[in-house]
């Protein structure tokens, strides 16, 4: 009976939702710590269940597909906050644009070159090139460029967790305490997980972080497909 259950797509769709609900509950229970984003807990739970039940990923994906289907519309949806930011933050355009372009550019180029030099693997270098983009966009671009989507997703989540911890700390060392700087840097370097961290610091930090994350994602989505094959 159990083996029958494990082969049902609907069962795996249900498990995915259950893993997400548990992840969210744990996130809330730990006071929204950036070290336990719901996506991390959710993935860890699914991976654990797949391992224990010896279920191949392909079998899981027959059900996972039902949920994965929504990723496309949700990426399109990012236009809504982006439009609102374009509207409200017009006055500081040049500085914000420069910070997003150079800041995110520096970290991505560093990651790609380090991967090339240390691991010498083009597929991994391309995959890490998407590390600063919010996960749904990173996955879409990695797929398109021939990287490994699952590794890209892991790299993005790890980057977010590291960034959420490192950004406030490093900026304090630089004696930058200003809310807009902290928010924007969190968004550029730690995308959605950084934005969750920014939300704890204040609403101005959160708004700047969300804006920076959306701008970075859009910029990288447009440029990486042309630039990455050229760097790698």
């Amino acid at each position: 009976m159990i083996s029958e259950l494990l082969s049902m797509p609907l069962f795996w769709a249900m498990m995915t939702i259950a893993a997400f609900v548990l992840g969210q509950a744990l996130y809330k229970a730990t006071g929204n710590t950036p070290f336990l984003p719901p996506i991390l807990t959710g993935v860890a739970l699914i991976v654990a269940v797949l391992e224990v039940t010896q279920t191949p990923y392909a079998t899981y994906m027959q059900g996972g597909q039902l949920i994965h289907l929504m990723l496309g519309p949700v990426i399109v949806m990012l236009a809504v906050p982006l439009y609102q930011f374009l509207h409200t933050m017009r006055s500081q355009w040049p500085r914000i644009a420069l910070a997003v372009v150079l800041g995110s550019g520096t970290t991505v180029v560093t990651a790609v070159l380090l991967t090339q030099w240390w691991i010498a693997d083009d597929t991994l270098a391309i995959t890490l090139g998407t590390k600063s983009i919010t996960t749904p966009v990173a996955v879409a671009i990695t797929d398109q460029l021939g990287g490994i989507a699952a590794i890209a997703s892991a790299a993005v989540i790890v980057t977010g967790i590291l960034g959420a911890a490192m950004v406030p700390w490093l900026l304090r060392l630089m004696k930058c305490h200003d809310a807009q700087t902290v928010g924007l840097t969190l968004g550029v370097c730690a995308h959605a997980i950084g934005t969750a961290r920014a939300l704890e610091l204040g609403s101005e930090q959160a708004a700047y972080s969300a804006m920076a994350m959306t701008l970075t994602a859009t910029l990288h989505a447009l440029l990486l497909p042309w630039l990455l094959p050229w760097i790698v």
Binding site: T16, A19, F20, P38, V47, Y57, M61, I67, H68, M70, L71, G72, P73, V74, I75, V76, M77, L78, A79, V80, L82, Y83, L86, R95, A99, V100, G103, S104, T107, L114, T115, W118, I119, L128, S132, T135, P136, V137, A140, L145, A149, A150, I151, S153, A154, A155, V158, T159, M166, V167, L170, C176, D178, T181, V188, C189, A192, T218, L222, P225
Partner: protein, 110 residues
């Protein structure tokens, strides 16, 4: 949910454009830019779209679980290069943080 219909229409438009012109940019991103263009021209966000955004945003991590769980198929890479990749991710953040912080704070510091 008419807001979802909006999103699907723009996603389909993005997919068609991508196929037609063989663009290297993902279809969903093209769809997003088309929707952005639509919003800029229209001058405001339709209420239905606003409502869908509020409903769907908190669910984003859920939609990412299936593809991210594909890490189970990448055990070789994780065990061979996991530590290196972790260090690369941590080190590469430092110049990014410094550059972003420096540009944003520059000229603003009193």
């Amino acid at each position: 949910m008419p807001g979802l219909l909006f999103l699907l229409i723009f996603l389909l438009l993005g997919t068609l454009l991508q196929r037609q012109f063989l663009l290297p940019v993902p279809a969903a991103i093209i769809g997003m830019l088309l929707l952005l263009l639509f919003l800029v021209i229209r001058g405001r966000t339709p209420a239905a779209l606003q409502q869908s955004t509020q409903t769907l945003s908190p669910l984003l991590p859920l939609f990412l679980i299936p593809v991210s769980s594909g890490i189970v198929t990448q055990k070789a890479i994780v065990s061979d290069y996991g530590l290196e990749l972790l260090l690369i991710l941590a080190i590469s953040l430092i110049p990014g943080i410094l550059v972003t912080g420096w540009i944003m704070a520059g000229g603003r510091r009193s």
